[in-house]
Symmetry: C2
Subunit: 248 residues, 2 copies
């Protein structure tokens, strides 16, 4: 059995993900916002690496049902309909829409996971569902990788804590020390340290402090709401959709 955590997509090689199941975490705020959007009826999200690519793609698709969303340094990109806040992803704003999203770190992590057999998105908002799927897959395949977006290529406390919560759920009480890489051990150590209070690691993280400083405290609190957006998103053929849609 192998349960690995990567604290950042930097340094990850295509071979590290090939054929595996990857859970991507960017709790502040990309994966939380994507869960919120799908929970409120968005059709799909298309993560792209830059503002330019988002504009180009929007022109190519040219549909009325398309929205642009994204942030640069936490702030909504000028001209875009939405930022990267889960609180903006209301039913009124997103139902039936396809959303082209560009974010600083989350998109990079999703793109780094391309080539995996399956890519799921996780955050506090969908932890129980993601944890259930992670446990099933760990039992079935004996292998999962939890990939944190981190922050500008470096370690992010908020994602590492969330990785620990997901690893804990995937293990389901089993002791499997040999199955864990060092980052998985440390992320479980963080869960032991912070307990089940999501607010503490989120507000203590650099990303959380920066969001609070910029007036997005409500986003940090929203991202800390366990199972607030109970959906399981899947990243497949460059789109994030509900994973169950693939089965139906």
């Amino acid at each position: 059995m192998k349960l690995e955590v990567a604290f950042s997509p930097v340094g990850l090689h295509p071979d590290d993900v090939r054929g595996r199941t990857v859970f991507v975490i960017d709790i502040l705020r990309a994966t939380t916002a994507m869960c919120a959007a799908l929970h409120h009826g968005a059709k799909a999200l298309i993560p792209v690496a830059s503002t330019e690519e988002a504009l180009r793609l929007a022109q190519t698709i040219g549909s009325d049902d398309l929205l642009l969303a994204g942030e640069k340094n936490c702030v909504r990109i000028p001209g875009f309909a939405l930022g990267n806040s889960p609180l903006e992803m209301t039913e009124g704003a997103v139902r039936g829409k396809t959303i082209v999203v560009t974010t600083t770190n989350g998109t990079k992590a999703l793109l780094a996971a391309q080539g995996a057999r399956a890519v799921y998105l996780a955050c506090a908002g969908n932890l129980s569902l993601a944890g259930e799927r992670a446990r099933e897959l760990l039992e079935q395949d004996g292998d999962i990788l939890i990939l944190c977006a981190g922050r500008e290529g470096a370690f992010g406390l908020e994602d590492a804590y969330c990785a620990g919560r997901l690893a804990q759920a995937a293990l389901g009480g089993r002791r499997a020390r040999r199955a864990l890489n060092d980052a998985a051990v440390a992320s479980l150590d963080l869960v032991r340290r912070y307990g089940d209070r999501w607010e503490r690691p989120l507000a203590r993280s650099g990303a959380g402090r920066e969001l609070i400083r910029l007036g997005f405290k409500a986003d940090v609190l929203d991202a800390a709401r366990l199972d607030a957006y109970p959906v399981l998103p899947h990243f497949h053929e460059r789109r994030v959709t509900l994973a169950s849609q693939l089965v139906s």
Copy 2:
């Protein structure tokens, strides 16, 4: 004040180290072995990136007082006088010698720190001295970076724990949450988790388990000995020497 930790040199840009003081940690085993060598009278160590470079440099220098040391995947490189074990760095073997060293992760971290204003080496073996210097520098300049070698570009539990111990020493009891980046917070969390018993995080880490599996358990135990090699090495002009030699 700024006290930052980087869990790996991967993704570190020259701008991240320029003008700063960096403490490099590769406790299993490069920085421990280097402290052992200098403590036992070696003149200098020259870290290089590959076996080929080590051989080329040895030919160029062509001195009888030169030794080759290094490992690849934990095992001594064939034809080299020494491996990467602190226990090999006895006074009989190293006194008066200059040692060209190539190691998998430690050398990469040292080379990534080139361009810093000053680069020190740290491990359990010299923690008190390194911690004292780190505290002085943090008071004087208000800034240090602790750079972990990690393992193949990824997070290593043993180095992260050691980084936490060094950060704790540098802070000297001060609370300075705003000064810490997320990796520094997490490394201090690991110290809280494992207490002062070096053996636990070292033996639990992937690097430690691999060394034990290959028959190097004595090295892991040696690397866990607090202040066993009380020297403060400095990396300057491509050489690792005793820092005090620069002053004298």
